[in-house]
Symmetry: C2
Subunit: 317 residues, 2 copies
């Protein structure tokens, strides 16, 4: 258990410097936090845990890890099109030294301010492995949330940007977890498409954030919507070119947190305008939805690619 000075430090680290929540009535320090929901809105919520040695290198700087955990969790709000309201934090610490707590809180605060996510409440416990659980929430206009079950045949499949950057840099992150530059940014600081996700309400039908790999996550939409998701590999922006020996990992690796979404063809111009507004460089159509048993089909140069868990094999069509 921490000494009382550590309790003070924890309180200092997590009580100030976060964005203010206009709807927060009672924050950290009581049995519960209290907020006032706005009228006629739905509450979108998600919870996400990251464990040292499983989801991130145990010796990574705690501030980078805390910021990344908040980004990964908040991405689920982006995938629904929700406007962020705030988050609760459950932290299991294996280290309560000053520098560790201060670094962790600094990274969390920086990210919370970038994403405009107020810290509403939390729980700090001790354990052998650093474990960060983030429970995020946001508001959605009634009935407009971007669900996984709304893709329909004939619709376009869109992707917000490059995939594979995080997966391909993972070896380097494991080798040097302190490296924090443009190359490790896709891993430590994945872009969270909050404003674009919100702009997509009424334009997109289904949406998901790519956290476990493009193919696997696209399959969630295929299954929930009961459609075939046809992806054109040549149109998918990847961290390395199609000839690169690790190209296929861009389609099966996760952690990029791009949004994949479906939309009717008559929404194309408005989606492109929204992409400009949200300053997306590479938002583009990467396939189309067709009728049939739920499946994902990836084509490259008229070949159907088949991805197995271990990698991928392909058959001529």
């Amino acid at each position: 258990m921490p000494q009382s000075s550590e309790f003070d430090l924890i309180r200092d680290c997590f009580s100030t410097g976060y964005p203010a929540a206009s709807d927060l009535l009672l924050g950290i320090g009581d049995d519960c936090s209290l907020i006032t929901p706005p009228a006629d809105m739905e509450l979108a919520q998600s919870i996400d845990t990251q464990v040292a040695g499983v989801h991130f290198p145990a010796d990574a700087p705690p501030g980078l890890i805390a910021g990344r955990a908040l980004r990964c969790a908040t991405s689920d709000l982006a995938a629904m099109g929700a406007v962020p309201q705030g988050f609760h934090l459950a932290l299991t610490l294996n280290n309560s030294e000053d520098w560790f707590l201060r670094d962790l809180a600094a990274g969390l605060r920086l990210t919370a301010n970038t994403l405009n996510m107020p810290l509403l409440g939390g729980d700090t416990t001790y354990g052998e492995h650093l474990t960060i659980t983030v429970a995020v929430q946001g508001w959605l206009p009634r009935g407009l949330g971007l669900r996984r079950d709304a893709a329909r045949p004939g619709q376009d499949i869109w992707l917000t940007g490059k995939v594979g950057g995080a997966a391909l840099i993972l070896d380097e992150v494991l080798r040097d977890p302190t490296r924090d530059d443009q190359y490790t940014a896709p891993y430590y600081h994945p872009r969270v498409h909050l404003s674009f996700g919100h702009l997509l309400l009424s334009l997109a039908t289904a949406a998901i954030d790519i956290s476990d790999g493009l193919i696997q996550d696209t399959r969630h939409i295929a299954n929930a919507s009961g459609v075939v998701m046809n992806l054109d590999a040549e149109k998918i922006p990847t961290a390395v070119s199609g000839e690169h020996p690790r190209w296929h990992e861009c389609l099966t690796g996760g952690d990029d947190y791009q949004l994949l979404f479906t939309a009717p063809a008559d929404a194309r111009e408005r989606i492109e305008a929204c992409a400009l507004t949200a300053r997306l460089r590479e938002c583009q159509i990467v396939g189309e939805v067709t009728a049939g048993d739920a499946d994902v089909c990836v084509h490259k140069n008229n070949e159907l690619l088949v991805f197995s868990k271990e990698g991928y094999t392909h058959f001529r069509n």
Copy 2:
């Protein structure tokens, strides 16, 4: 990582058999859960983590532990007087065997049904130590939540029942974590005072649930309200009598989840009526609030007891 059959098992374990939520629009299986807040209510939320080997014996039956974790977290809603809406679950599993998952889910489901807490969503990860994070939420009529900062001089201090049962049985729980009977019930199945907490709205002023020890938690109200909390030890119902060598542990040990609350004297009759309605056996006045620098004073036979971290010493007044 689990095999796909384990994913199926996890889905089976956590998708059915929980109470239904009338306001749930979208549950497990999308990026977020979606609920519709009722008009003119505040949302009360709390998050709570329990780690194997820290908060519970690592070899305890997972169903007992999961049920206990949900009770402990939900107790924070009771302490605010909130009506439960549901919970999100973040589970870090060190064991994905069939029996383990089924036992864990059975215990969780049983408790969720007892407390009427729908499971709204979750995240399952793997790690070396079983870690259970429960994020609970409920609704409160605007402005009526029982906060810690509302105790005022002249008010009574009430306690919902016996303290010390959980602390005194802990040695036995550690010796035989599978023991699940009337003696270990205060530890594994602490009563959550949801209906009584809700009845206290408009009657009580401040409230807290006793999770870390009667004295320490009472001090939270003293500090938040800026008052002296005077407790009369002879009026506090304890698991063992005042002559017992471990009696003081009843006042400093935690885990009983009784509610301690303050209320004006003119609310006494109505509080007693509410206690009858909620079938509380021992709800009683255990002290009074006075003006002064924030403090907790415990008297026994006209002596002022002083509790240190290690135990207690007493001085004649």
